[in-house]
Amino acid sequence: MPAPKLHADHDPDYVYVIYIAAPPQKIWDALTEGKTARAWWAGTLQDSTFKVGEPIVFRRNGKVDLHGEILEREEPNRLVYTFHIEGPGPAHDEGPSIVTYEIKPAGSVTLLKVTHSNFPKGSISRQGVEHGWPAIFSGLKTVLEGGAMPKFDNWGEEEFKSAQEQQLREHAARKA
């Protein structure tokens, strides 16, 4: 599988850091769990062997949300995969972005750092993930520390939808 096309003119990487009171292996296991529709990830089921070069597919409510490919794997410390939002739509047309999970001990707890990169300038996908990642990783921390997953009214879809519509309006205005 080819590496994704890298955007020469790009938006800054999105970085999220969270500290979790659980060992790195438990965080790795949760991030690579493929058997259940994970409540902490908006009920998304992920399907992959998590081996380098293999595909990864995210499904939600029976529909494919995202797909990609595993680029790097170093259990339990590092996983890199491409992240391509399903189409049709401007977010899909931006092509695959790249997600990196870094998991490392930090004293008695574990630091999980997520770096999401390769967004084109003015990216619509970046606006979507900015809303999604904090809710997802906040939920992961809650669950791994023994709590019940909070119920959210939405997972940033509303913000994503309005950002996507806004961009379509701007495109239309530029053409007019």
Binding site: A21, V109, P134, K151, F152
Partner: protein, 153 residues
């Protein structure tokens, strides 16, 4: 863009009232925020400071907006690290919004200084402190490393 800015979002299973109290009241901050506590009358225009357990002032400023349990905005200057103090006052805004059975906390900490050393320093600190706050409110226990002021600092 001329200034420096740090934004962090976290979702905590609690109520806005409890979260607002945890961000401002000594009985909570002493547990998750390195043993520190804040002193203020909590009125717009009032002075505000963070006390380090050994008696030093950590940071200080004024209350710019006070709207519990939704919003708090502070001016904020580091007082014990000369190169950070020299940059002057930052502003720090906490926004709390209900999100289902959780509360969405958005923290924005900024200054009109390019490549600010203060913003670089707090960018490292906030994720750890807010993770500890989240653990405290959800499980009753803060994260161990952020519970006490670090030796030699």
């Amino acid at each position: 863009m001329t200034g420096s800015k740090f934004v962090y979002v976290t979702y905590i299973r609690t109520t806005p009232e409890k979260l607002f109290a945890a961000l401002t009241q000594p009985e909570f901050t002493k547990q998750f925020w390195a043993g520190t506590y804040q002193v203020s009358d909590w009125k717009v225009g009032a002075d505000w400071k963070i006390m380090i357990p050994d008696g030093r002032v950590g940071d200080s400023g004024k209350i710019l907006e006070y709207n519990p349990p939704k919003r708090l905005k502070l001016s904020w200057r580091n007082e014990f690290m000369p190169e950070l103090k020299a940059e002057g006052h930052t502003t720090c805004t906490y926004e709390l919004e209900p999100a289902g059975t959780a509360v969405k906390l958005t923290l924005t900490h900024e200054i009109n200084v390019p490549n600010s050393k203060t913003i670089a320093a707090i960018s490292n600190g906030w994720p750890h402190l807010l993770a500890s706050l989240k653990s405290l409110l959800e499980t009753g226990e803060p994260l161990i490393e952020s519970a006490k002021w670090p030796d030699g600092h």
